[in-house]
Symmetry: C4
Subunit: 201 residues, 4 copies
């Protein structure tokens, strides 16, 4: 199974999910600067959801960059992952209209947790061997564990949101923070390969 | 006619159809866990329609994976197939708002039946010879027959839905079950090729 | 300028325009078969507009299949062509809600006329020389003239629609008929090349 | 990081943003030519926003045409740039419904300014060396400066719009004019290379 349609289809879904978020922004009724005051909370939710879907895309791109062929199981895991990402605009709409109700943050944390779990399933199904050095394999295994912990934490937070809505927002923010701060596989590879080459001299 | 635009255009349509389904999810008015109770029926319809369009995509991808050039007739069959897939969000909206009315399940079964028929027409128009072994050709012919039977059953169920709405839902569920359980052409090829190679030793 | 982004971007727009048409289909209020009676006029408009956008895509694909690099002027002509295709969902919405008002058919015919003109401009800007035989070049020149006549006829019909709304629908139907019946460049090339090769023997 | 997904994802977003603009066009209630009179202001806003997003696409395509690999920083800059382009449909909706309110033009100018700044950040992060001649490098540096000035002007105009709404529209029009009139990198390269080759003879 070639990579081309896999990426085509997934990126189509991500691009649309990202853009649908804007459909719920409404023209304010107030005038002058008060119009900005009326509109900024939904702009903030739009920005947050955009960043979350952007992080989903980075996880997808980083995880599959070095993979070139996919098994049939991989196709199914990918569809499951895309399913969870299509729920984000609905979760965001709930969070924008009723930020302190449990449904919005709970759905957001649950979608994020299940998205990460599906990506880990997809990752296990591709058996990429490639030309990875032992260091890289160790790094990848550690990254896999961190994502597993993050996913479980998000699912717990999705349940906890029904008591404390803030839990859902917090768990999603932790995932965003980790993906934006942690090293990207491409960086790690370059760094490690550089180290190996210097070491050989 | 090259494969590139064929896939680009089709995957664009599938990706949008998948994502449009979420636009009809409405923010509930109830509070706490009752909000979840209010929203879960439409979430269920969303999930079901997502799986159906995902199955449409798998049929498209699996059927055309080994094909590299398309005739002019193929382009037209593909447009007809895409047309039926664009009706799914409307059928799903009907099923979500009025699940026991005939229109929703009938339209869903009819779209699925005509989609499969168009894909069979597309498949016949591409004359892929490739390097198929006789076993593979036999397997492909059997798969073609199964899909033909499924398509006819779905069209009959689309008519029957006007008396028993459940018929439409059932016929669509059978297609989903078959595609998810049956072997993917890529698996079969690998297995058969493996058998041939072992046999040669 | 390479072909890749050109096709990516254009097919993205076509795929979305095709799919947006379905957003205007409304769940009927009548029961049983009367629900079908209520919904079929908008299903018919959806089908007609789908076919029209499908024809736009075929014109785009057939015209640029053998072209591999684009000038800067080509990019601008393409954006103009895509602009006219984005107006089709709006023209279709007008035609569906008020079929005998002039605005719908006039906008549909005008968009079709200007779309074809932009595609002819795009075609002139790419200077494809390729390996065309004199017969093929003559065939292409004749096809160019037919499209020019069709475009002018559609623009005239767009004006006439303000007196006789039917004129717009008719002019668009003629374009659809021509594109679906006329030979596709890929067919003509194969046939002519075949003739040349047979003639050389 | 390869170019493929980069372009796939970005073009998906641009294609959807372009097409979403049409969703806000409403079927007029007046009859005959008065329907056209009722609809033309929103058609004008649609056209203007289409041209603006088209210009965003040209900036993206022209800036990254010769680049083949992207750093991790590049991915993030690109997401930021896409974010600003998703705000255009909302800014356009504001401008269409309340053209003399500050919010629409201010948001439009701010999005344009920040989009250009993100593209400059993306451009700085890719370190394209390629086979550029010194003249080309000088030309690129000059172009970079012009875009920086345009971006700053748009951000100032976004602030000024709260006093004089026209400022926002004007600043965006200047960007559109510059991109459509100024030379495209592909043209400049060809011209300079031609000059070098002639000079060598």
């Amino acid at each position: 199974m070639s990579k081309h349609r896999f990426e085509l289809f997934s990126d189509g879904v991500f691009a649309i999910v990202l853009t649908l978020l804007v459909l719920d922004l409404r023209v304010p009724t107030a005038h002058g600067l008060r119009a900005l005051a009326e509109v900024w909370p939904s702009l903030l939710v739009h920005t947050g959801s955009f960043v979350l879907v952007g992080v989903f895309w980075i996880i997808h791109q980083a995880g599959l960059e070095r993979v070139t062929t996919f098994s049939v199981a991989g196709i199914r895991w990918n569809l499951v992952a895309l399913f969870w990402s299509t729920l984000i605009p609905f979760a965001a709409k709930n969070a924008a209209e009723r930020p302190l109700e449990s449904l919005g943050p709970s759905l957001m944390a649950a979608s994020t947790g299940f998205y990460i779990l599906s990506m880990l399933g997809l990752r296990l199904s591709v058996h990429s061997t490639l030309d990875d050095t032992p260091e890289l394999l160790r790094w990848r295994a550690r990254r896999f564990t961190v994502f597993l912990v993050l996913a479980v934490a998000d699912l717990l937070a999705a349940g906890l949101s029904w008591i404390v809505p803030m839990a859902g927002y917090l768990a999603v923010a932790v995932v965003i923070g980790y993906v934006l701060i942690a090293s990207h596989p491409a960086d790690v590879e370059r760094r490690m390969r550089g180290a190996v080459e210097s070491g050989e001299t």
